[in-house]
Symmetry: C2
């Protein structure tokens, strides 16, 4: 039959007795017009019958653009990331780009996972990076930036430097949560914070305090969960209940804002185990609005973040930056979250 290797421009060219440059032109939408109409026609049919497929690897080498970008995220298995990734790929797809993905949180051999991934991506000559890994330890990020790489951050900001980023407005998110609870009549509200080492953990805690302040209120209590996980939520809630016992207060908290849905779910379990009812005894608001939250008992009120849009915008921002389109420099795009009110929040007892 035919030979194994797929035909090249050269093959198509000599099949027609023309030069490969001509075929190259004919294949490029941008320069197609430079080829006479009927020749173009013949080239196209020849290409089709020979089964020609462009070799992007060769084009990449020649033009220095690989049409790939690197995406770094902790773990695609964490439900916040799939919509982000989907947004990224939908945006990249429009321009013929592919994402090279790396899950940076590996149980084994942790530590250099990120650096290795970045190395491999640079070997593949990715044109830029989308970084959703949220650790605030940034050694590698600094190195990466100094190497001149194009970078856009997702759902996190950059401590010192000013890298462009697409984030959710955590101040607003907390304001929505707090305003909702205050409107229901709550005046004593506690916060189950996320790890301070993550930028969202810190931003949401600050946002929570600020939102209360807007109402002339102060935080009833703040306890930090060790991780964004159900068990951490359980533990943190136990601490919160212990605090409540050891420091009896004339007005104990009647509502809780959690930095994350998993923390909120853990808290609900602990409350249930302690014989407290949600929402009649205590209201709870989560954060992220992950899937199936409407199916738990009670359905969890949560701050919905525009994950898909974050992914999409960040990819667009990066693509624009690669074109050196101005206006995309150092931009920090903030997306507004929305509150999804469900059954876990209600007016406090006797309100």
């Amino acid at each position: 039959m035919k030979r194994m290797p797929s035909p090249t421009l050269q093959d198509v060219a000599q099949h027609l007795g023309v030069h490969k440059s001509t075929v190259s032109r004919a294949m490029d939408p941008a320069r197609r017009q430079l080829v006479k109409a009927d020749l173009l026609q013949r080239i196209e049919t020849a290409a089709k019958t020979l089964g020609y497929r462009p070799n992007h690897a060769a084009a990449a080498l020649s033009r220095g653009r690989s049409k790939t970008i690197g995406v770094l995220l902790p773990d695609i298995t964490n439900p916040v990331f799939p919509p982000i990734l989907r947004g990224i790929e939908d945006a990249l797809d429009e321009e013929g780009y592919f994402a090279l993905l790396a899950n940076t949180s590996r149980p084994e051999s942790r530590g250099h996972a990120i650096e290795q991934a970045v190395d491999r991506m640079q070997a593949q000559r990715v044109e830029g990076f989308l970084v959703a890994s949220a650790t605030r330890d940034n050694q590698w990020l600094d190195t990466l930036r100094q190497s001149g790489a194009r970078i856009v951050l997702i759902n996190r900001t950059d401590g010192r430097g000013h890298l462009p980023a697409v984030i959710s407005d955590d101040m607003l998110g907390m304001r929505l949560a707090v305003d909702h609870l205050v409107a229901l009549g709550h005046r004593h509200i506690a916060h189950l914070a996320g790890p301070e080492s993550l930028s969202t953990g810190m931003a949401r805690r600050v946002g929570f305090v600020q939102a209360l302040h807007n109402h002339g209120l102060t935080a009833a209590q703040v306890v930090m969960a060790k991780a964004y996980a159900i068990e951490s939520g359980e533990q943190a809630m136990q601490q919160l209940l212990a605090l409540r016992q050891s420091h009896p207060h004339p007005h104990p908290f009647t509502a809780i804002v959690a930095a994350n849905d998993l923390i909120a779910l853990g808290a609900m379990q602990t409350l249930r185990a302690a014989g407290l009812n949600v929402p009649t005894d205590i209201s709870i608001v989560g954060h992220n609005d992950m899937p199936l939250l409407d199916q738990v008992n009670p359905p969890l009120t949560s701050v919905r973040i525009q994950h898909y849009e974050m992914g999409f915008k960040s990819a667009r921002l990066l693509l624009d930056a690669l074109r050196d389109r101005p206006g995309s420099q150092d931009a920090t795009v903030m997306l507004p979250p929305q509150l999804r009110v469900r059954g876990s929040t209600a007016a406090p007892r006797g309100a």
Copy 2:
């Protein structure tokens, strides 16, 4: 400063006054031994100080291996796919491969989404394909196979041909579900099936009937859901209840096996709305064991599929096939599912 483009083998070579071939050898672990020890040393330090980074695009062109494989799946946003993808990438990572991902289900311009994705992947010269898109309409898959591409299927089989595949043992899965219910005392069990157009939909329905048959039982009723979605589950359950009314039976079903968790969740909602209690009136078993199922009310008993392992094995299988290692040809690997028993199943009334 230094020039923008990253240094090449040539740069490193002339920095040391040696030939680039030598540097090339020094950089390749497999041929490193052919270089004298001290020269190797000098080359390595020179490479480090110059900031040399291998250009994989060039290597790909030269060696004809891109070190990338294409992954086709409907939508990463569907919770079954993240663990599969994670498994794939963990396996690929071990060999320095990257996955190029395409979400094949696009709302707009549906139809040619898959073909376009495949085209782009072939242009990138992926070395093989991992296909988790489950439609049983296979025009494009046939074309792809005939083009000589290496393919491994995930969570689906191939109608006519015999492509290697990694699937879950759906017969066993249904047997686990049915055995569990029968052991609890159920004798009249209905099935909410998935779409017949998906291979899992069909396989699970067949498995269900077979599993009942093993006990000398026959299916109380089978209704097909239009999609793997909560709403479809609600609708299908309504049909099931209607059937139950219109055809009064001396022994109405006391348990339901759903082809999928979302269908099961929808069914639970409909049952609740109809004033029926799960599990006291009716037991329900789901399928897939998606995240947060232990948090719904009641916690859903479900057949847990080894998604991560499916991804990992499929990638390994493909990598082995690329090396022409025998034993990996036409292999169909079947992974055993497990039953996760939770609160949605109990003994039937009066048992």
